[in-house]
Amino acid sequence: MDSFLAAVVSVLFYGVAYGMVLYVISVGLSITMGMMGIANLAHGVFAMCGGYILVTALAKYQIPFPIALALSFLIVAFFSVFLDRLLYKHIYDAPELEQVLFSIALIFISIAIARLIYGTLQQPVMLPEYLKDQFTFLGRDFPAYRVFIIVFSAILIATLWFGVENTKWGAMVRATVDNRPMAQSIGINTKLLFSITFAVGSGLAGMGGALGAEIIAIQPTYPFEQLVFFLIVVAVGGLGSLKGPFFAALLIGVLDTACKYWIPEVGAFFIYIVTIGILLWRPLGLMGKRA
């Protein structure tokens, strides 16, 4: 029994770390999809960029880890503004199909560019020494880096939630997600708001990709491979919701880890069954707002 409990603890630990990373990456997608109704399947590109930025900063320029992490947020956020002004604005009001096609095109292009610059090998992450060791707690070993992921993400998420609940920006975001025409009619500049939110969301995705670089390998095909999981997190959590995807991401993370640990022969089968089940029970997601 004791070893079973110990196993459960481990599974929860790794599952939560994975889930946190998924959430940090996906929350931006949830908000932008809920806000502007854009099916941005290329969201994974931002996460991948963040990952590459971190890896390059650490390996090539020997930038200290915390700064590298901050850079992954800033550079991706800035880059997303650029993409928004240049490309995304053309498809704001396009039919759903066109948006899907557009984001897939972006994915293809980014895969090619990533390969051109970085080649095909998975990027090794040069973690600083102080993050490489293990903590021993109650007789189990926990890798320091995963502990860091959990703690850092928790702080990040708490800040985000606080920001959305208590700042003017947050209020405007919530209003626009709830009812865009109404928000516009009371004078909210939704276009500007969207650009800012898009930047924040994409920056977060970049940071999430960087944080999770050890768990989700940084390589050119990243946006395609991981898309399913990001979409599941958003759909199950609820489009436009801030907190729903959090629980969805944790659920996915823990479930995935548990399956791999106890029933590896079954694979990701379970996750999809659960996703289908939840979506049937709650079509708008666990905490969805929009129809």
Partner: protein, 324 residues
């Protein structure tokens, strides 16, 4: 809104509609070395046709249509390699039945939901099918794929040769049959209703149309066609692999259809043709960077040529007519 998308009021066969068949037959005689690519293109046209029916005409966007394609392929493959059934027509029939059943059951699940939920469900179902194919190694071959697929001669007469001559004509014949059926369907009262549902579901419900029932029928028929396409590719290649099922091929076929032009039957012909030929050419010239080429091409289509290749064609036609 172009006249050529969606329901057409004049169902008579235009001369231009014979072009694809003439071309296809010409290819058979003029390009005998390219028949394996040709057979593949014909199969994907059938697949795209099935997607056009459900997405273009009925308005259901799906990121998981390759579930049916893949299940059709695996059904055919497993029945041949593991059970020993080799008659091609019988195998197509079995795939059609299995996919029809799958279509009904999944349709019942997803057609009551909306937009993103619906999209996600289609995705989850396709991913589920992929996992089953991936894990059930003893019957599907898993990551190694299903070898040992033996296909007997068609009607006992025409053997499948490795130059794919038989396969090409077989695919062409099946495509012709389903094209005819889909065309009839789309111009029938059933087709009108579908287009109406796509344009305004609520209004259709308000006038008493059993929307879900219509969608379910369309979805099931679409699943059957996709399944037959999958079986065809299993027969052509005599092999079934994991990349016929799941999210990636679903995304790919959607891209191919949109490229050609959605909701107009012939987009399903042009799209896969352009995509697969381009892929073939680019993969040859720049094996490392064909992704870039495809991505740019798609981007150009979205930004400047909405409505796909046939959309461009439309604009040209309209332009020429108005300048006369």
């Amino acid at each position: 809104m172009s006249k050529l998308v969606g329901f057409q009021s004049n169902p008579r066969l235009k001369i231009s509609e014979l072009i694809p068949w003439v071309l296809a037959l010409a290819v058979f005689f003029v390009l005998p070395d390219y028949l394996s690519l040709g057979a593949q293109i014909l199969t994907y046209i059938l697949f795209a046709l099935s997607l056009d029916l459900i997405t273009g005409y009925a308005g259901v966007v799906t990121l998981g249509h390759a579930a049916f394609f893949g299940v059709g392929a695996y059904t055919c493959g497993i029945l041949s390699a593991k059970v020993g059934i080799t008659d091609p027509l019988l195998l197509l029939l079995m795939s059609a039945i299995v996919c029809g059943l799958l279509g009904i059951s999944t349709g019942l699940i997803i057609l009551r939901t909306q937009k993103l939920t619906q999209l996600m469900l289609t995705l989850a179902i396709a991913a589920l099918c992929f996992e089953v194919a991936n894990k059930a190694t003893t019957i599907t071959g898993g990551a190694d794929g299903l070898t040992g697929v033996v296909i007997g001669p068609i009607f006992g007469l025409f053997k499948f040769d490795f130059l794919n001559k038989t396969a090409y004509l077989w695919c062409l014949g099946i495509l012709f049959i389903f094209w005819y059926l889909v065309r009839r369907l789309v111009y029938s009262p059933f087709g009108i209703t579908l287009t109406g549902i796509k344009e305004n579901k609520q209004r259709m419900q308000a006038i008493g149309v059993p929307v879900t029932s219509y969608l379910l029928k369309a979805y099931t028929f679409s699943a059957i066609i996709a399944g037959v396409a999958g079986a065809l590719i299993a027969q052509t290649n005599q092999f079934v692999g994991l990349n016929l099922i799941g999210f990636e091929p679903s995304g790919e076929i959607l891209v191919m259809l949109i490229l050609g032009g959605v909701g107009r039957i012939y987009g399903a012909f042009v799209g896969p043709l352009v995509f697969l030929v381009a892929q073939d050419f680019l993969a040859k010239q720049f094996p490392e960077y064909w992704n870039l080429g495809i991505g740019l091409m798609l981007l150009i289509v979205v930004l400047f040529a909405k409505g796909g290749v046939l959309g461009i064609f439309d604009k040209v036609t309209v332009f020429r007519r108005s300048s006369k």
